[in-house]
């Protein structure tokens, strides 16, 4: 348990015996009455901003999904109500199920890789001497700070058909078939490249945040366990992991949400013209909305995506709610 050395200077004399928190130190009838308002007051500014900007658009998104809404309707400001037909079209379309499966698999692999590699890097950071640690952290932040579009362009160059360094390297190492090789010909290879780009971009944030969280793990406990003969993995599993659990859950949920929604990487790597085999839910929603300007259907796909995400992350959410309490 960490305690701070500096004590808050206080000249108030306390005569009352120690009460159980959260009783205020200066009880007054008025203060006691207003107390239940405190959390709401704390929340109000943030919630106001969110409600103001997101409230109407979210409502709009859902209502759009029940309408037939093309470009004409967009400019006129009015659509035709068609009830659940957009949803019907989507759910009975075999392509939808393919895209869902593809998105799920992609997200699972991406999240897994990100969390595992992120944890390894965070642990590594903890075990490095200060100068090296600063260097590696700086490297991570530099990678994170790189503009997304630029980063994707660099990776795209690296895997380029004729100019790419990967093909060049592989050819040098003897694999002649990579002389001029298109990595996006086969979706499996293409998604590998996409996965590398996504994980590369996501890793710094996860690693740095986990490292920050690791600093909250009491070193004495780990030391004690190690002295008692526990191996590295056991120390990690029984001491570190439980303390880090909330942060792990948060990061895993966030990664799941972000990797589920992946759009930019695929869009840019495939030069803004991905073929159907590369469609994930985010791409499909965008393509329907802006590509073929069927905003209603695009909105419906987005709503379905959110519902799916809620289902997928429900496990984490339930854990979180359990921690939150009644």
């Amino acid at each position: 348990m960490r305690a701070v050395e500096t004590r808050p200077p206080s000249s108030r004399r306390r005569a009352a015996p120690r009460e159980r928190p959260p009783a205020p130190r200066r009880p007054g009838a008025r203060a006691r009455r207003l107390r239940p308002l405190v959390p709401y007051a704390l929340l109000a500014p943030a919630l106001l901003v969110l409600a103001a900007i997101l409230g109407f658009p979210l409502y709009r998104l859902v209502s759009l999904s029940f309408q037939q809404y093309g470009l004409k309707e967009l400019f006129a400001g009015r659509g035709t109500f068609i009830g659940l037909r957009n949803y019907q079209d989507i759910l009975t379309d075999p392509f939808f199920w393919t895209v869902v499966a593809r998105t799920l698999v992609f997200a699972t692999v991406a999240v897994g890789l990100t969390m595992v590699l992120g944890t390894l890097v965070a642990l590594l950071l903890r075990n490095l001497a200060r100068p090296m640690r600063v260097l590696v952290t700086a490297g991570l932040v530099a990678a994170w700070a790189m503009p997304t579009l630029t980063a994707i362009s660099i990776w795209q160059w690296m895997f380029d058909f004729e100019f790419g360094v990967v093909n060049w390297l592989l050819t040098r190492l003897g694999a002649e078939s990579f002389q001029q090789h298109n990595w996006f010909d086969q979706p499996l290879q293409g998604f590998t490249v996409i996965m590398i780009v996504v994980v590369w971009g996501a890793l710094p944030f996860v690693a740095i945040t986990l490292h920050a969280g690791l600093t909250q793990v009491p070193a004495e406990l780990e030391e004690a366990a190690r002295v008692d003969g526990a191996g590295a993995w056991q120390v990690f599993r029984h001491i570190t992991l439980p303390v880090m659990k909330p942060i792990f859950l948060i990061l895993a949920t966030l990664s799941t949400i972000w990797d589920f929604k992946v759009f930019t990487q695929i869009w840019v790597l495939l030069n803004q013209r991905p073929s159907r085999e590369y469609f994930l839910l985010g791409i499909w929603s965008y393509s329907e909305s802006f590509g073929v300007t069927r905003y209603g259907k695009g909105a419906a796909i987005a709503v379905v995506m959110v519902i799916l995400l809620m289902l997928v992350t429900s496990f984490y959410v339930r854990q979180m709610l359990r921690a939150v309490g009644p």
Binding site: M1, R2, A3, V4, E5, T6, R7, S10, P21, R25, R26, P39, L42, L43, P45, A46, L47, V49, L50, I53, L54, P57, L64, V121, L124, N127, A129, A138, G139, V141, A143, M146, P147, L149, T150, S153, I154, W155, W157, M158, D160, E162, F163, A212, G213, T215, P246, I250, I257, F260, K261, S285, Y295, A302, M305, T313, V317, L321, G325, P326
Partner: protein
């Protein structure tokens, strides 16, 4: 002794590997900014930008309104970070330290709101700001950025706060602190790493954004650097040298920001932690 030396060497080797993976693309970006045209996309990769040129940087910086773009981006980023940290910390306090009806709903809503793809919301957001007369205004995009930063920030900070035992604040209050004082003096410094992570996240989200700024802003003097970076791609193709030079310039503030912030984190953590 040698076991420790081996372990140290192992860690350093792993560190070098991580550095390679993270830094190679960055090196390539910087190097390409200095390359002549024929060396940028060439069959045999040109590892070093020799002979080099400063033309790409000159082109990048000579773009009309470049300095205004810089000014706008800096304003927007600072505003977003400061406001988001303030609002998020308060809200996270509420969500982590208080019991109130609707707390569970709040947590769920914060998560759900992050699941909606930005592309699906951008036009409704534009139309709404349009009706409020806030399109083509920096305040409009700051508020929009806040919307996308806050759910994540509140949620993350809540996680950090939850991790800090309430007993610390209780101890302080026994010694004469008000609740607010306890939050300010005890909790706030301990959550510093979380605040840093949130601030960096906000920075990157705002600094890197293209779509929101592009759709919501119109006047040439109100653009941000994200749009400037995209302006090197026309229907005549992309000027790769200028993009890379521009990106190098563009990434520098982010790295500087981190270096500044990193020292504060370290000092905050080492300032008098005593085993209690």
């Amino acid at each position: 002794m040698t076991r420790r030396r081996l372990a140290r060497a192992g860690y350093n080797a792993a560190a070098v590997l991580v550095l390679l993976v993270t830094l190679f693309p960055i090196y390539w970006m910087v190097a390409t900014g200095f390359k002549r045209g024929a060396d940028i996309l060439s069959f045999e990769p040109k590892w070093l930008p020799i002979p080099g040129t400063l033309e790409n940087f000159r082109t990048a910086v000579d773009k009309p309104h470049f300095l205004q773009d810089v000014r706008n981006s800096i304003l927007v980023v600072i505003a977003t970070i400061v406001i988001s940290l303030a609002l998020a910390f308060l809200a996270a306090l509420a969500a982590a330290r208080f019991r109130f009806s609707g707390r569970a709903v709040l947590v769920v809503m914060l998560i759900v709101v992050q699941m909606v793809p930005l592309e699906a919301l951008i036009i409704p957001i534009y139309l709404m700001l349009d009706r409020a007369g806030q399109t083509d205004r920096l305040a409009g995009i700051v508020v929009t950025y806040l919307t996308f930063v806050l759910p994540f920030a509140i949620w993350t900070l809540r996680g950090f706060i939850v991790n800090i035992p309430e007993e610390l604040e209780e101890a302080a209050m026994v010694d004469g602190c008000t609740r607010a004082g306890a939050f300010r003096r005890i909790l706030f410094p301990l959550v510093a790493p979380g605040l840093v992570a949130t601030a960096v996240f906000s920075f990157i989200l705002v600094w890197n954004d293209y779509l929101i700024a592009y759709v919501l802003l119109r006047s040439p003097e109100r653009q941000t650097l994200g749009i400037w970076l995209a302006s090197f791609t026309t229907n005549h193709g992309t000027e790769w040298g200028a993009v890379m030079a521009g990106s190098t310039l563009f990434a520098i503030p982010a790295v500087v920001f981190f270096l500044l912030v990193q020292r504060r984190v370290v000092s905050g953590l080492t300032a008098g932690a005593v085993k209690g």
